[in-house]
Amino acid sequence: MEFMPEFRTARPTTVAEAVAIRAAEPGSRFLAGGTDLIPNIRRGIVAPPTVIDLAGIAEMRAIESLDGGLRIGAAVTLAELANHERVRTAYVGLKQAAGGIAASTHRQVGTVGGNLCLDTRCVFYNQSEWWRRANDYCLKSKGDVCYVAPKGSHCFAAFSGDLAPAFMVLGAEVEIASKSGVRIVPLTEIYQDDGIDYLLLKPDEMIAAVRVPAPSDGFRTGYAKSHVRSAIDFPLAGVAVGLRREDEAITDLRVALTGTNSMPLAVEGTEGLTGGPPNEAMLQGLDALIAKQIQPMNSTFSPPGYRRRVVAKLTRSLILNLYRDG
């Protein structure tokens, strides 16, 4: 087993203190549950001189009501989120996404903020230092070639967090804290489709909380993912759907995906498919929209073609189930 490199820890008790340390110490990292960061440090993928432990920041650990919706602190654990009464009843897709992450142990410490900032993943990247060195490293860490697409100069590691799509179909916003204060932006705006720079947060910024709007009448959500084992596995592809049915027609439809690109993807153009029932023509239209926007690559052991098919299948069955129940 590889040894952990040396680092210092800082243990702030307020968000302001945490971002001040982050700004003062280049290369430092926030540590929430550590279920992603600790293995990555041990594998030599990242080597922060200072690790800023967020566990002591009480203000980040609460779920509060806000304008009929919820304000979820970034250090709330996945288990707390999945078991929260309002989440279980009013935000079913979010509950399903949180409850299906990793295993019971990881959900007790893994957090919402850590899941949204989860490093992108690839079979050539999530390996030991020894393995990666033997392979001359890869573009995302210390090397010059992306083995998934060797001709280009782009990294295709896949964003694989389960919560982001479930939050996106709810129209969630994030509170981003830095030394200059707090800004609030739609969750969709903090990502870009680049395996290395997937997060648009500035170095001294952190996610302090996520805001989900009040559940609107008749809007239902669901989340489903495909994985090798039925638990303790990252999504090969994950799909969140939100829809409203009025009589026979779908009047609101939102689809967001994970595991297919280097960022969680809010599928564009779904509003053009509303107004009628989910018949074959409508579903084929949706298949086409999705096929054009996703870009699964050979970053997992399951080939891109499989992940393309599974996304289409999961999306269709989620829509039909939510429509039938609505």
Binding site: M1, E6, R8, I38, V51, A103, Q108, V109, R229
Partner: protein, 158 residues
């Protein structure tokens, strides 16, 4: 670098030790306190061999830093039996062959105990999902599940 002074309660006893910041809780238990009942399988959160209870929560001790345990209380496999008297889970694992090589067993026992404390009568599916983070290369899991079911029944009788 200066070492950190940590005070914790483990299985009801107070412990003090020094550790480096980059040592995981698992490293501290095994290498600083010589509590080697807790095992290292993967050191990356995949196998569950290192499971302990930290302030009432089931965690992979390989994913927690030793410094994070300061002021907290822990339960490890060393505290499961009372002297010669085995915990019903330990007893059933022995009777029903819930272990072979045994490397996964301390973690599975701690995880199963955490499950039965929150739900004394879990279904087979609930047991399998709860123990999904505990890998075993030997038993094929079936005997693990049977042992947990048998222990649950025993414990419900009181």
């Amino acid at each position: 670098m200066a070492r950190n002074h940590i005070t914790t309660t483990i299985n009801g006893d107070e412990y003090e030790f020094l550790c480096d910041t980059e040592q995981t809780l698992l490293d501290c238990l095994r290498d600083e306190l010589f509590l080697t009942g807790t095992k290292e399988g993967c050191a990356s959160g995949d196998c569950g061999a290192c499971n302990v209870m930290l302030d009432g929560q089931l965690v992979c001790s390989c994913l927690v830093l030793g410094v994070e345990a300061d002021g907290k209380s822990m339960e490890t496999i060393e505290g499961m039996a009372h002297g010669e008297e085995l915990h019903p889970l330990q007893q059933k694992f022995l009777e029903l062959n819930g272990l072979q090589c045994g490397i996964c067993t301390p973690g599975i026992l701690i995880a199963a105990k955490a499950l039965l404390e929150r739900d004394p009568d879990p279904t087979e599916t609930e047991i399998r999902y709860w123990l999904a983070g505990n890998l075993c290369r030997c038993t094929g899991y079936d005997k693990v599940v049977r042992s947990v079911q048998a222990a649950a029944e025993e414990m419900r009788k009181g």
